[in-house]
């Protein structure tokens, strides 16, 4: 689907230009194929990113570098072979210049060969396994990586008197990334770690949380994909872990802004390390949140939305830098090293890895008025993906 508003705008602008007789040729269009899970268990990711992309186009207009950006939205239902087929169709039939979206790691990985083969930039706006950017030289990421968010957690936990940690992660790329990066760092500091992994589809946390409650660790480190956090919190309470004094820590996915309010007071006091909170204290963020909530009443932007927003901005900036040249190599070259003040804070696209460099914040979940928010209280500036940085 094309964004009707964009089309309309472009159409009106085009009509205006023709009437005024100041433009002999029609404005050239650069198509962006946006592939997201709009239905199925990860639909919340798709909705957030779509809303943010729309917001960016509404705010900055569709014309960049003399070309009009046109977004074609497709639903892959969170299903990797659908993602791949849709990407292929977008490239072959719709002649898109950029592929974007990719809600989960398998979806991004399945599409990587298409990006390489067609020499088309693939902007990963959500999926967060560290190795994704290595799958193709045409992948650029505007979300985050799990090791980037998880390693600072190990430092914080150790320096705050936590000695024994039990990790519960979802059993797929990002979860394993989160578990290994946290465990390695924490063990190196001298702590002990026990680990279990929960299946990705239809997760039931109860038996795993039972093991946690028997082990009585100082803290429970948890990673679940965006949108699944509420389910986890519910079972966390049912097992009485909140009363047993087990501290909840982890990367910020579990206290996702989108669904945080629905979790109730159990989330209060959770310590997480992440790159974005809707309460991030900056003018850019306040403007972003305000505009997002005005366009989508009742929805709070989460880290997926900011990934989509910055992803779209990256495409626009790159197009500006190449003066409208939408060839894949030129766009990728322009994206490398791109840097600006995002709602999440200052960000840079690492020219060496095409991954994002950003601040990681340590946050505590607190009640502000009647709403729950993740309040940032410490900043680790300009964190690179540690996995690739070590190579």
């Amino acid at each position: 689907m094309t964004f009707r508003r964009t089309v309309l705008k472009g159409f009106m602008a085009g009509a205006l230009a023709v009437t005024l007789g100041c433009a002999a040729q029609a404005q050239e269009v650069v198509k962006v194929g946006l592939i997201l899970p709009m239905t199925g268990p990860f639909a919340s990711t798709g909705r957030q990113i779509e809303a943010a992309v729309k917001l960016f186009l509404a705010q900055s207009g569709a014309t960049h570098g003399g070309k009009r950006l046109e977004v074609i939205l497709k639903d892959d239902t969170g299903n990797a072979d659908a993602t791949r087929r849709i990407a292929q169709e977008l490239v072959v039939n719709d002649k898109v210049a950029v592929l974007a979206g990719f809600g989960l790691t398998p979806l991004a990985m399945a599409t990587a060969p298409i990006a390489t083969q067609a020499k088309i930039p693939q902007i990963v706006m959500a999926a967060a396994t560290a190795s994704i950017t290595e799958a193709s030289p045409f992948i650029v990421r505007t979300s985050f990586t799990l090791p980037q968010a998880s390693e600072p957690m190990a430092d914080w936990a150790w320096s705050n008197g936590i000695k024994r940690v039990f990790t519960v992660v979802t059993d797929y790329g990002p979860g394993i990334d989160a578990e290994t990066s946290f465990a390695n760092k924490f063990k190196a500091a001298g702590g002990t770690v026990e680990s279990v992994r929960v299946p990705l589809r239809n997760p039931d946390f109860a038996p795993f949380l039972q093991r946690v409650s028997e082990a009585k660790p100082d803290a429970l480190f948890v990673f679940v994909p965006s949108g699944i956090g509420a389910q986890f919190m519910k079972q966390f309470v049912e097992r009485g872990l909140d009363k047993a004094g087990v501290k909840l820590i982890g990367p910020g996915d579990v206290v996702d802004d989108d669904i945080l309010n629905g979790m109730g007071d159990v989330a209060i006091g959770a310590i997480t390390t992440h790159h974005y909170s809707a309460k991030h204290d900056s003018a850019a963020n306040q403007a972003f949140v305000k505009a997002f909530e005005a366009a989508n009443p009742g929805v709070r932007p989460n880290f997926m939305a900011v990934g989509g927003y910055d992803g779209m901005r990256l495409i626009a900036e790159a197009l500006k830098a190449t003066n409208g040249d939408a060839s894949g190599e030129k766009l990728i070259a322009a994206m490398k090293g791109a840097s600006w003040e995002s709602p999440r804070g200052p960000i840079t696209i690492d020219p060496a890895t095409r991954d994002i460099i950003q601040n990681i914040y340590v946050r505590r979940t607190e009640k502000v008025g009647s709403d729950l928010f993740n309040i940032e209280f410490a900043t680790i500036p300009q964190v690179k993906d540690p996995v690739k940085a070590r190579k």
Binding site: M1, M38, T39, R47, L73, K74, D75, N79, A80, D81, R84, R85, Q88, E89, V91, V92, N93, T105, P106, M109, A110, P113, I114, Q117, A118, T129, D171, Y172, G173, P199, L200, R201
Partner: protein, 333 residues
């Protein structure tokens, strides 16, 4: 005396059924023409060909032997992972992968057939569903081999016969899938119009009576079940090879459920049902999902309810009327 007359009669009717109806020729000519008619839609055509083969496989057991299944994805997944793993670790030759996928699925079909073939429809539904769920979890937990929830990455296929490379437009992929579908269809057509196929229909209509007239019911059912599994395995292998990727989704329940829908749309028991259903289902899904990416499931659901309530006879009636328009070739001879 009457025995030989009956045999003559049966032989004649089988031979008549084996003869090609003009509508069938038209169907396959159209399928071949689609290659030239829709040069930009090879990817979805390829998916249709694979779904059609998968539906053909279910039709073999549902339409001809009366075995219901809610877990046919088990064989699709088996074929897909077998072909994918073979390509990744042993040989990238597509035909070897296809044969391997069919063989492993047939073996799985043979092994599970004793479970499936006893009991009534309801137990069959439960058992087939259970087998598919078990395989899903096995594939999920063997992450070191299958890649688990991240999918099986890094499959690269060699060109078919060493010359036809899989291209980004899906041209080779579609031609390959269509040819495999056609060849397997020919074999299926021959089988269902053989005495073996006739005995299956006998079993479907009255199992007790078939057994009483000397048909070895369990063996026949096991044979067709394994054959159907091999067909589903071929569909899985094609899927793995043409997308060069396998995810856990191949074992997912929705694959089996979609397949049932395809056969309901197309109609079971005349081989073309699966093919027609696959075309209708995929185009419908594609058209609605393009129109509204958020809410396409709602429209598909609504369409299916309306279709099953009233429209089914309409479409099937239209197909029959169309077929009847062609004069039966050699009907007078």
């Amino acid at each position: 005396m009457s025995g030989t007359v009956l045999e003559q009669h049966v032989r004649q009717s089988l031979r008549r059924a084996r003869r090609w109806h003009p509508a069938e020729l038209a169907f396959w000519l159209l399928a071949a023409a689609s290659f030239a008619l829709f040069p930009t839609r090879f990817l979805i055509l390829n998916e249709i060909a694979i779904l059609a083969l998968f539906a053909l496989s279910l039709d073999l057991i549902l339409g001809y032997a009366g075995i219901v299944s809610l877990g046919h994805a088990a064989f699709l997944g088996m074929g897909a992972y077998s072909a994918g793993l073979l390509a990744k670790y042993v040989t990238a030759d597509p035909l070897a992968g296809l044969a391997f996928g069919m063989a492993t699925s047939a073996l799985l079909g043979l092994l599970t057939s004793p479970l499936v073939l006893r009991g009534t429809d309801l137990t069959r539904l439960m058992i087939t569903l259970g087998v598919a769920l078990i395989l899903y979890e096995v594939a999920n937990s063997l992450a070191w081999l299958t890649g688990g929830a991240d999918g099986l990455q890094g499959i690269t296929m060699a060109p078919i016969f060493g010359t036809f490379d899989f291209d980004i437009f899906g041209r080779t992929a579609y031609l390959y899938s269509l040819l495999v579908l056609f060849i397997l269809f020919l074999i299926a057509r021959r089988i269902v119009n053989s005495p073996f196929g006739l005995s299956l229909r006998g079993i479907r209509d009255n199992q007790l009576r078939a057994a009483a007239s000397g048909v070895p019911v369990p063996w026949r059912l096991a044979a067709i079940y394994a054959l159907s599994a091999a067909y589903a395995g071929a569909a899985g292998a094609l899927l793995a090879q043409t997308t060069q990727f396998v995810s856990l989704d191949v074992f997912d329940f929705h694959r089996s459920a979609d397949l049932m829908l395809v056969l309901i749309i197309g109609g079971a028991g005349y081989l073309y049902g699966g093919l027609i259903g696959a075309i209708a289902f995929k185009f419908l899904q594609d058209a609605i999902a393009t129109f509204t990416p958020q809410y396409w499931m709602f429209w598909i659901g609504l369409f299916l309810v309306l279709f099953v309530l009233g429209g089914r006879e309409l479409i099937h009636g239209a197909i029959k009327a169309l077929v009847a328009r062609f004069p039966e070739r050699g009907a007078s001879s």
